[in-house]
C-alpha cells in the first residue's frame, strides 16, 4: 500500500504539512518495503488558484492509495475521490509517526472535506 503524507521538507524526519494543495512535498511511503519516494509540489505552492486540484492530480499519478494530511478542501477532495485515493485529515506531528499511527489503525478516513475553498 502507498501512503502519501504532506510534508514540510524532503527529509525523512520532516513534520507533516497541514495544507494539502500548497504542501511543499509529498512523501510517498510503501508500507511493504518502507521505501520513501519524495514528490516535490513546488509548482502548486505558488499557484494562482486550483493548487489542491493539481496536487490531487499529481498524487493520482503516483498511484498513492491513501493521503494523510492536515486539511483538505472541497475541490481537492472531489479530485482525490475520483482518483480513488482515501483521505485522512487532522494529521500532525512527524511524518514517520503519522505513518506508524496509520498502520496501527489510529485514524479514520474523512467522509467530507474539512475546510472550505481557499482555506
Amino acid at each position: 500500500m502507498l501512503i502519501a503524507v504532506t510534508a514540510k521538507s524532503a527529509d525523512p524526519n520532516s513534520e507533516v504539512e497541514p495544507r494539502f494543495g500548497r504542501a511543499p512535498y509529498f512523501q510517498i511511503i510503501d508500507t511493504e518495503s518502507d521505501e520513501i519516494k519524495v514528490v516535490e509540489n513546488s509548482e502548486n505552492v505558488n499557484a494562482m488558484q486550483g493548487a489542491g486540484i493539481q496536487a490531487a492530480e499529481s498524487l493520482a499519478n503516483t498511484n498513492a492509495d491513501v493521503l494523510l494530511t492536515g486539511h483538505c478542501g472541497p475541490k481537492a477532495f472531489h479530485t482525490l475521490k475520483t482518483a480513488g485515493i482515501r483521505i485522512v485529515v487532522g494529521v500532525d506531528g512527524a511524518v514517520k509517526e503519522a505513518v506508524e499511527r496509520f498502520k496501527n489503525n489510529e485514524y479514520e478516513y474523512a467522509a467530507s472535506p474539512d475546510v472550505e475553498s481557499h482555506w
Binding site: A51, I53, E57, A60, T82, A83
Partner: protein
C-alpha cells in the same frame, strides 16, 4: 472624458462623490453616464433612483466534456492556465468556478469533445435618472470574478460619451478593470490612519497604470493633517476637501444628495467639477504639445 472614482479603503465616500458629481455635472452635460462598476455591492442607484429601462443577464461560456468522445489525452488540461481542469486517469474533471472562459480547452481538444455551455454570472442594467444616464450591474452571489461583468457594464457607454465610473473598494482586479482607459482617476480618502494607508496603496496602483489622478479628502477637518502632508510631499493635487459634517451623514442615510440636501455643500462639488475639468484640459494640452 472618463473619470473613475476609486479609493483603496472602503467607506471613504466614493459613491457619495460619484453620484453628487455625476448628478451636478448632468445639469450642464446631458448624455453624461454614471456607471456603477461596484457590481458586488452596487448602491449608486439608492441615491440616483434611476428608472431602469433595460435589464439583461450576462453569460460566460464554460467547458462541458462529452465523455463518449473524450479519450483522456489531456491536451485541454495542459493549455488551461487557471487549473480549472484535472485529468484523473482518462477522466477530465471541470471546475467551472476556476474557469476564465478563455476557450483554450475547446480549441485544444482534438476530438471535439468539449462544448461551451453558457453560465449566468450576473445582470446588467441601463436606465436614466433625470438627465443622467445610468449603467450598472449586479454579480450573482457566489460568482468569483466581477471583472467580466464590469467590462460589460463599461461597454454600455458609447465610445464618445462622457462618464463617471464608480469603482469598488480596494486595489484588486475589479478596480483595475474599472479605471482602465479612464482619462482621470479621483481617489477619495478620509483623514484617518486607515484612509491614508489605503490611499498610499491606491496611489501606487494608479501610478503603475500610468493614469493621471488627484485626491478628494472627504470628512475633512478631523484633525489628522497627515493626509494633506502626504499629498504635499508626493506632489499630489487635492481637488476638493468635503468637510466632516453630521448633516452629511443624515442626508446620506436618507439616500439624498449632499449637494442639494445641505445648504452650502453645492460649492464643494462645483469646485471639484471645475478643478477636475481644468486638470483634464491641462493634461490634454500637454499631450497635444508632445
Amino acid at each position: 472624458m472618463r473619470i473613475a472614482i476609486a479609493s483603496g479603503k472602503g467607506g471613504t465616500g466614493k459613491t457619495t462623490v460619484a453620484v453628487n458629481l455625476a448628478s451636478l455635472m448632468s445639469e450642464t452635460n446631458s448624455g453624461l453616464y454614471y456607471v456603477d462598476c461596484d457590481v458586488e455591492e452596487p448602491n449608486g442607484h439608492l441615491f440616483l433612483n434611476p428608472e431602469v429601462t433595460a435589464k439583461r443577464p450576462l453569460f460566460l461560456p464554460k467547458p462541458s466534456i462529452n465523455e463518449e468522445l473524450c479519450d483522456g489525452c489531456g491536451e485541454c488540461k495542459v493549455i488551461c492556465q487557471y487549473n480549472a481542469l484535472a485529468l484523473i486517469g482518462e477522466k477530465v474533471l471541470v471546475f467551472p468556478e476556476l474557469c476564465h472562459s478563455c476557450g483554450g480547452c475547446t480549441l485544444a481538444c482534438t476530438r471535439d469533445a468539449i462544448t461551451e455551455v453558457p453560465h449566468e454570472i450576473g445582470s446588467i442594467f441601463e436606465g436614466k435618472a433625470g438627465e443622467l444616464m445610468y449603467a450598472g450591474g449586479e454579480l450573482k452571489i457566489g460568482i468569483p470574478s466581477a471583472v467580466p461583468l464590469i467590462k460589460e457594464v463599461k461597454s454600455m457607454v458609447p465610445n464618445m460619451d462622457d462618464a463617471i465610473l464608480d469603482a469598488p473598494a480596494g486595489t484588486s482586479c475589479p478596480v483595475i478593470e474599472t479605471v482602465r482607459g479612464a482619462d482621470y482617476v479621483l481617489l477619495v480618502t478620509e483623514p484617518t490612519p486607515f484612509g491614508l494607508n489605503d490611499l498610499k496603496i491606491a496611489v501606487e496602483t494608479v501610478r503603475l497604470l500610468g493614469l493621471p489622478f488627484g485626491v478628494v479628502i472627504n470628512r475633512a477637518g478631523m484633525r489628522d493633517e497627515k493626509t494633506n502632508g502626504y499629498c504635499e510631499e508626493e506632489g499630489i493635487k487635492i481637488l476638493s476637501e468635503i468637510p466632516n459634517d453630521r448633516k452629511a451623514a443624515e442626508v446620506y442615510s436618507r439616500g439624498q444628495m449632499l449637494y442639494t440636501g445641505i445648504p452650502g455643500f453645492r460649492k464643494y462639488f462645483k469646485e471639484l467639477f471645475l478643478k477636475l475639468t481644468a486638470e483634464i484640459e491641462s493634461l490634454t494640452e500637454k499631450s497635444t504639445v508632445i
